[in-house]
Symmetry: C2
Subunit: 125 residues, 2 copies
């Protein structure tokens, strides 16, 4: 296929984290009613519930830094993309970043992509 999955994943995550870190209430367009988010031990379904959860997270300032980003096509025919990110999260006035792992499953729709699956975990040591 002609799609460059790695470049697409890099473009998506760059946009996603920039939007998350500046105003995460505006991420709703990236999810659909059947989209799922696992955030630590919480499980949410649907754009509205997912955004409510993200907005409710107990920090004001947040910055994501990507350490590794890997992408693969997630189906032989439909152009969907699986992305795994490992990175660091810096919140509020904390000096020490927290390491995290996150998976996005992106589904093509009308020339763009939406998030069908989103799984986020902090890496405790």
């Amino acid at each position: 296929m002609a799609v460059n999955f790695q470049a697409l994943a890099e473009e998506f995550t760059k946009f996603y984290y920039a939007q998350f870190d500046s105003d995460r209430s505006q991420l709703g367009n990236l999810y659909r009613d059947h989209s799922m988010l696992t955030f630590e031990t919480s499980q949410l379904q649907g754009a509205k519930n997912i955004i409510e959860k993200l907005v409710s997270l107990p920090f004001q300032k947040v910055a994501h830094r990507i350490s590794t980003l890997d992408a693969q096509p997630s189906s032989p025919e439909m152009g969907s993309v699986l992305v795994m990110v490992t990175g660091e999260l810096l919140v509020d006035e904390e000096q020490n970043p927290q390491r995290y792992s996150q998976v996005f499953h992106l589904i093509p729709e009308g020339g763009s992509y939406y998030v069908f699956n989103d799984i986020f975990r902090l890496n405790y040591s």
Copy 2:
């Protein structure tokens, strides 16, 4: 849907890591010709290439310990499952485990599942 995705993912990963840690040359049945493995910066396709890569890894003894395991259905209709694992890897005589993150995308086939996507990354700090 009636499938318990979390239980299925736990059963799969338990089997996968037990087989990996005892004899990883026998994992070939879990992959197909169109399966993909990203292992750190290496990208492989096909059961044969994937197993060659896994067997070539430079350790004799290996043990995986799961820290977190999350699962979601990866499509509205076909019963496929997305799994994200964070865990610790202990190799040979090393005393300090290495943290890792891994994604499996499992596709149903004949009453069982095979691995279509497999992405593995050590978490460097």
